[in-house]
């Protein structure tokens, strides 16, 4: 409840759903990894799920399209669909806090 929870100590978890090892899949993975490093300096937990290997997870998260990145923590729940080539839209869509510049 304290203001600390709103700080950087809160976990940020992203799950990226892809279908197989396609060019589009690896593009999305690369884009997201790069984004995590540049914008969050590794302060983000990133999971990659291949729906062909783990369809039940896709079912649980009600994923339709791939690639889709899901942010459950911190709330609110956000989803961004696509190969994540447009970094600005990804940041906006996920509503993630970037590291303070100072």
């Amino acid at each position: 409840m304290s203001s600390n929870n709103r700080g950087l100590g809160g976990r940020q978890v992203l799950t990226l759903f892809v279908t197989g090892k396609t060019q589009r899949s690896s593009m999305a993975i690369e884009n997201l990894k790069r984004l995590c490093e540049t914008e969050f300096a590794g302060d983000v937990e990133l999971q990659v799920v291949d729906v062909l290997e783990n369809p039940q997870l896709a079912e649980d998260e009600k994923i339709l399209a791939t690639p889709t990145v899901v942010k459950r923590l911190p709330p609110p729940l956000r989803k961004v669909i696509g190969d994540l080539s447009d970094l600005e839209k990804v940041l906006l869509g996920l509503d993630l806090r970037t590291k303070p510049q100072e």
Binding site: L52, A58, E59, L64, L77, D83, D86, L92
Partner: protein, 514 residues
């Protein structure tokens, strides 16, 4: 019902079909839906697409022990489970037993989704395949895939992916129903113009307003490479059963004809009919109001009970109390017949439900009570709740059902004018019925008397003359023919002098015109 799918032309038919188990559908589909193909079910909003999609799976489980996957794009699976259960399908239990699985592909509440770059529907396909494999499904319903267009921005991608998923379904392989919403009953088959291209088979559901009355129909528009019945067929949605299609063309003229006679129950009428009605014949009794139609029904029922038969009466004009009281007045004790298990009366106002529902309910009662005789009093009362076309379909459906059970039927029809003429009922069913008996008022010397004639009796000799009949405390009694009157049927009876009769008789001199 489960055996009909091995149709006679299956040898020459390269497209295998699976019987759906939806009542009536397999008949109009000549055995069922094409196996391991995608069938498009198109209809406007409220045309029962979702019910059919659900029933396709439910009937598969109930009748053929085939598991099914329901992919929903619209209603959340929780709502759908509840709605489908109201049709008597224990979806939740089936899910536990691994016979039914949902894939919830609707918009997620509370999730904000945005787009950044290109994508495909690989996850949806993987989920469907996963569900199919997990429960070993051979049936899949997708309801309605077109909603993907409103969920996802890129319609070119959605279009392409719908094709891909449809192709994958065939590969699994499963038999699938794909529903598509159309904006109106006569427009394009689907809103986005995609679904009809992924499916070789198209079924159209309609819920139209005809003469201010709702009418649901189903039509198979095309089956590629295999046959089906053509045209629209009415159907009904029943609370605990789902969709039931009334297959009019199931009416085949192959019913066995019995030459066994049964007593008509009316004093003197047996002789006029050449020895009674045939055991499996349909008799239409036509007459003006108050002319003795209900009496004839009462006598027909009583005659059956006396003969040791079970008799069923559908009454659409009078209440049970009225009927029983009237019967007492004619020396017939319905109550005793009922106690003896020989009689059952079902009273209903025609307006309480649609004609299709009446028909299905009557069929149920017939199957339950298993009568030897059935009477409907009156058929024309049902006329007013339906369109002309709907009524004709009803009569054909009822007649064929009664005939297939080898039950003797007696329908009454009220003529609009006192002295003669016909009603719509008659013009529609006179060709279907085996016998027609006319009851007419005859005005003679300022007095109204009653006349009866057997107009038609298929396959039998019958008396051609018009007989006078009387009604008293013991019922109906057929008397002598009207010898010196003409024009009764036309409604303008005229007296003929004795000289004239003799003159005409001499002219023909055949001695018996029959």
């Amino acid at each position: 019902m489960t055996q009909t799918h091995t149709s006679a032309n299956s040898a020459a038919d390269p497209v295998e079909k699976i019987p759906t188990g939806v009542p009536g559908l397999d008949h109009i589909a000549d055995g069922g839906l094409p196996k391991n193909r995608v069938t498009l079910v198109s209809g406007a909003s409220g045309s029962a697409k979702t019910v059919l999609a659900g029933q396709f799976l439910a009937a598969g489980i109930e009748e053929y022990d085939e598991a099914g996957v329901f992919v929903t794009f619209e209603e959340p699976s929780d709502d759908l489970r509840k709605n489908l259960t109201s049709f008597g399908w224990p979806v939740e239990r089936w899910e536990r037993e691994g016979k039914w699985a949902f894939v919830d592909a609707g918009p997620e509440i509370g999730a904000e989704t945005s787009f950044a770059g290109s994508y495909d529907l690989g996850a949806l396909l993987a989920r469907i395949e996963h569900a199919v494999r997990k429960i070993g499904a051979s049936r899949v319903s997708l309801d309605s895939m077109g909603l993907l267009f409103s969920q996802l921005q890129d319609s070119a991608t959605v279009r392409f992916e719908i094709f891909r998923i449809a192709a994958a379904l065939k590969e699994f392989p499963v038999s699938a129903i794909l529903t598509a919403e159309r904006t109106d009953d006569d427009g394009d088959l689907s809103r986005y113009g995609v679904e009809e291209f992924v499916s070789d088979n198209v079924v159209v559901l309609r819920n139209t307003l005809e003469e201010k009355m709702r009418r649901r129909t189903i039509e198979i528009l095309k089956f590629r490479g295999t046959s089906h019945k053509k045209g629209e067929f009415p159907f009904s949605i029943l609370p605990r059963r789902g969709i039931e299609i009334i297959p009019l063309s199931a009416i085949e003229l192959t019913q066995r004809s019995s030459d066994k006679r049964i007593p008509t129950g009316v004093d003197g009428l047996d002789a006029l009919c050449g020895g009674g009605f045939y055991r499996d014949s349909i008799v239409l009794v036509s007459g003006a109001t108050g002319n003795g139609k209900t009496l004839m029904v009462t006598e027909f029922m009583a005659g059956g009970a006396d003969n040791g038969e079970r008799c069923l009466l559908f009454a659409f004009e009078e209440s049970r109390e009225q009927l029983f009281r009237n019967a007492i007045g004619w020396d017939v004790d319905f109550e005793k017949m009922e106690r003896d298990g020989r009689f059952k009366v079902v009273c209903a106002y025609p307006e309480v439900m649609g004609l299709e529902d009446h028909l299905l309910k009557m069929k149920d009662t017939l199957d339950e009570f298993k009568p030897h005789r059935v009477a409907v009093d009156s058929l024309s009362a049902l006329e007013r709740i339906s369109t002309v076309r709907g009524f004709r379909e009803f009569v054909i459906g009822l007649t064929s059902f009664i005939k297939s059970r080898e039950v003797a039927g007696l329908f009454t029809s009220t003529t609009p004018s006192l002295m003669g003429g016909t009603s719509i009922t008659e013009s529609h069913i006179s060709t279907i019925t085996d016998s027609i008996i006319l009851l007419r008022y005859v005005e003679l010397f300022g007095e109204v008397r009653r006349g009866l004639t057997v107009l038609k009796m298929r396959g039998s000799f019958h008396e051609k003359s018009i007989h006078e009949f009387a009604i008293d405390g013991t019922g109906m009694h057929i008397g002598d023919p009207f010898r010196n009157v003409t024009g009764i049927l036309a409604g303008v009876p005229q007296n003929i002098s004795q000289d004239e009769i003799e003159r005409i008789e001499k002219m023909f001199d055949t001695g018996g015109l029959s």
